[in-house]
Symmetry: C2
Subunit: 542 residues, 2 copies
């Protein structure tokens, strides 16, 4: 007898709670095999992710190992290559060995959520930090700590002010919570390490609406949150949006430039690329389901969570929140098995219990049962109690409890975990007039100009204010300083908006040393360039 195969895609609230509910319903029944595909081996408890920034809870306290949450489920910790609805298989990307794996299914659950996607947004793609998962939270935290390590020895006022300005885009729950925790953390660091005047710190929250949390909470609570953040030093900029960014500035829609080296954006949420690629009816990247969570076009494909558009009896659609996803999961598990047995399906009817948003440092806002409105300390106590009780497993509860307790006694944890070795290839975006490097800087990267035009200036040229050369898309520059480990011989500035690919010195040298074809190709470009600068006396961009 072959088993009935249910494959769940996604390790978030929707996917994991569906597997849990199935395990409960199937107890002892081995005729059904449940598989779950997730790119991480852990489930992330998203509501507490912002607390990782400030280290109020331990670095791994927000996550739980999947195999412990769903012990009876077959786990595939892999990226998904594609979903083939016609053949009813999911293709996985390779693991340790480069062989493709295929997972056949009888019923498929799509619970892939959404992603923060800056593609097609020049500047943001390169320089805005997303805040979606644990790696994002750790990387933001490490970046903030590094900023303070650096600021200690920087006296140039312009650079100090760039480093000490922190911009968060998005005034929904996620943006507000990230901004609140970030603000608390940088002020704590400034106070403790005494390397800057608190007045030097600038934390800016950008929001496109008339007030923050305008889509999530009633006016009085949004205004409370706004006042509280302002009192704690956050500058709130309403009715504005990010247009683009460069390594040293956020640029707003109206053209205003905010010089900064830290830019976090919690918008826009884009559909998951695999979901967007499905030949099924969608609305803004969410798959349309019937009230039973099944896709309109299929009798064996289901969708829940943030990637699903689920109609509610009251009209409207289920919002993309954890409380909805976990309830959808229970209904879905029932329906998956009922569908197999030809029994009748249950509709999803949950209308939500309320909304909670943390504001950091023992304050929050909450609206519960559509009536009760809380703010400040009581809301914060409700926030902690409710989310703590929802943490998966006893061991996680104990650890988070211990972390919160120790946090009352101990100073902030400011250890920077340098586990990210950094990619050797980085894409960069500069706005017109931005300097890529200055004459005299150390040559730490080699650049390829992908888009736009840049100009080269030399302090030794007859008129230093006039460019001595123009670089166009497809040209290399910066090779000399990198190859010879010497200072840059000229300044390179963006003429138009430009996009660059930067290769770190070490990797560039390794490539040049080992790959004769590449060396020849680069030498040819260098020669041609020397030729173009006819006299050969002008400094060429090194």
């Amino acid at each position: 007898m072959t088993k009935h195969r249910i494959v769940i895609l996604g390790g978030g609230f929707g996917g994991v709670y569906t597997a849990q509910a199935l395990e409960k319903l199937l107890r002892g029944d081995t005729s059904v095999e449940v598989s779950l595909v997730s790119s991480e081996n852990y489930f992330t408890f998203h509501p507490m992710l912002p607390e990782v920034i400030s280290g109020e809870i331990g670095l791994t306290d927000t996550v739980s190992p999947l195999h412990r949450m769903v012990p009876q489920t077959r786990l595939y910790i892999r990226e998904i290559e594609s979903i083939d609805c016609a053949r009813k298989v999911v293709r996985l990307q390779p693991g340790f060995v480069p062989r493709a794996d295929e997972l056949p299914y009888d019923q498929l659950v799509v619970a892939l959520g959404n992603v923060t996607d800056f593609r097609g947004m020049p500047g943001l793609y390169e320089h805005a930090k997303p805040f979606k998962n644990l790696a994002d939270a750790l990387s933001l935290r490490n970046h903030l700590i590094r900023v303070f390590d650096e600021v200690a020895n920087i006296h140039d006022p312009e650079l100090r002010s760039e480093l000490l300005t922190f911009v968060v885009a998005g005034g929904g729950f996620s943006g507000v919570e990230v901004c609140a925790e970030l603000n608390d953390f940088v002020r704590k660091l400034a106070r403790e390490r005494r390397i800057c005047d608190p007045a030097e710190l600038k934390v800016v929250l950008l929001h496109s609406g008339e007030r923050i949390l305008d889509r999530e909470l009633p006016q009085s609570l949004g205004e409370y949150a706004q006042k509280l953040l302002a009192k704690r030093g956050v500058e709130i900029r309403l009715k504005t949006r990010l247009a683009t960014a460069s390594p040293s500035a956020a640029v707003l829609k109206d053209g205003e430039r905010i010089p900064c080296r830290t830019l976090v954006s919690t918008v826009p949420s884009a559909p998951h690329p695999l979901v967007a690629a499905l030949p099924l009816s969608q609305d803004k990247g969410r798959l349309r389901t019937d009230p039973h969570l099944r896709l309109l076009e299929s009798d064996h494909v289901w969708a829940i969570g943030d990637c699903a558009l689920i109609p509610l009896p009251s009209g409207g659609f289920a919002p993309p929140t954890a409380q909805h996803a976990t309830r959808e999961a229970v209904v879905l598990a029932h329906n998956l098995l009922a569908n197999r047995r030809g029994q009748s399906l249950k509709p999803f009817t949950f209308e939500g219990l309320g909304k909670l948003g943390s504001l950091g440092r023992r304050r929050a806002v909450a609206e519960m049962f559509s009536k009760v409105r809380l703010s400040g300390m009581p809301a914060w106590l409700a926030w902690r109690t409710i989310y703590w009780s929802k943490l998966p497993g006893f061991s996680r509860k104990l650890k988070v409890g211990a972390s919160w307790f120790l946090d009352l006694l101990l100073p902030a944890e400011t250890v920077q975990l340098k586990t990210d070795t950094g990619s050797s290839l980085t894409q960069l975006h500069y706005e017109p007039g931005d300097v890529v490097f200055h004459e005299g800087d150390l040559g730490d990267a080699f650049y390829m100009l992908l888009e736009g035009e840049a100009q080269v200036f030399g302090s030794q040229s007859p008129d230093p204010s006039q460019p001595i050369a123009t670089l166009r898309a497809g040209e290399f520059f910066g090779e000399m300083a990198v190859l010879k480990r010497q200072a840059r011989a000229a300044t390179v500035k963006a003429k138009t908006a430009i996009t660059l690919l930067a290769l770190r010195q070490q990797d560039f040298q390794s490539l040049m040393a080992h790959v004769p074809e590449l060396r020849t190709s680069i030498e040819r470009v260098m020669e041609r360039r020397q030729h173009q600068n006819s006299s050969g006396e002008l400094p060429i961009p090194k």
Copy 2:
């Protein structure tokens, strides 16, 4: 009045404890400025690092923020570019902006320790994992967790056995402690996750001597450790050394191949490259000092810790241990200030209190005051008590205490922190006969052959056992499958030992799309290759 500038290089036991001792001696005296340069913003308490593997203590419990340990010291969290003894300056690598910083000094302390250096050891450079710092420990831990996530879905017995074999090279304290913790952790994972039979697990410890810990401890204790590890399932291989490695095997000096996907090597310790570059008399990468810790050739440069060769009154030299480094630091701080004031210097005379080695799971070995020998549980209690009391700061002590306590109650933490995005360029080494990829594999990387010769085999060729082409150093291969996301059309095997540079698919595509010169260069190679395979009908390596 200009300040007297003392610059300390290195954030380990030697450097940090010297800064601490100076802060104590200088209290209130502002005529001396102490700077410390470290590549990390934290101090790592190395003795507890192996416990990070098993997650017995929290991921950041072994480290303390430097700014809290030495609040009066100026910190530079940077890599060092060079030491210029003639001009008395230290050059730092760039931070956020690519400007070179120079630190002038009046007195210099070199406390850079040593490094695990596999350069010049083909195969080990590419595939042996070092175990030196927190990043190494976290990366090993993540690798082990990933192995178990993968094994769950692998049925090929050969690949399973490769994945479930773990080799540790080096039978000194470091190797033994790492091996003990690794062994405990993989057996715990196997037991808990029930994805493999414990009998499938193979943990091998390689040591060049007659018994493990032969250089560190008397025979009886070494034998105790050996018996205990063997009882816990570790296979101990004596009088042998690693010769080379490939992605799927460790190769011993006598030619034996141990198929494995995890190879940790705690040997050899090489001199720090900056130390090796100094024009000062050295012995195996350790700087020769006089009994006052001052370099023989200089009146203002000092060395302590693992990078210093310090004569002891009893004859012999101070061993490279934490207990010596911390005592050297106190003597050095005194001498730095005495030297400035023209007062007499103190010699270093500490002869060591004893030696401790943890064996995991409540067992250890210890020799104290040259007389007392402990093993098993009493030694383990001594180990915990002594090292816990040496942990810097109250907050660290409390956290480690809490972690140890929670570890008694809770199951192992098996969350894999994927913060490392992986480098786009990786160097690989294969031994003769090893397969780089099989026909039909997914194309996930593009390769450049740096050294050696490889052969191409095709299952469709007239005689599949005969190579259809030979690849030589400087040649590219694997571009077709990567560019078109299709399966490999042929198998590539190493003919001699080969070294490859692999570029991940995504980065290769980005380079090809954006850099016309590179595309042209690769297209030229592809054409030439097509040409060489005269008939054009044989499959060329894709």
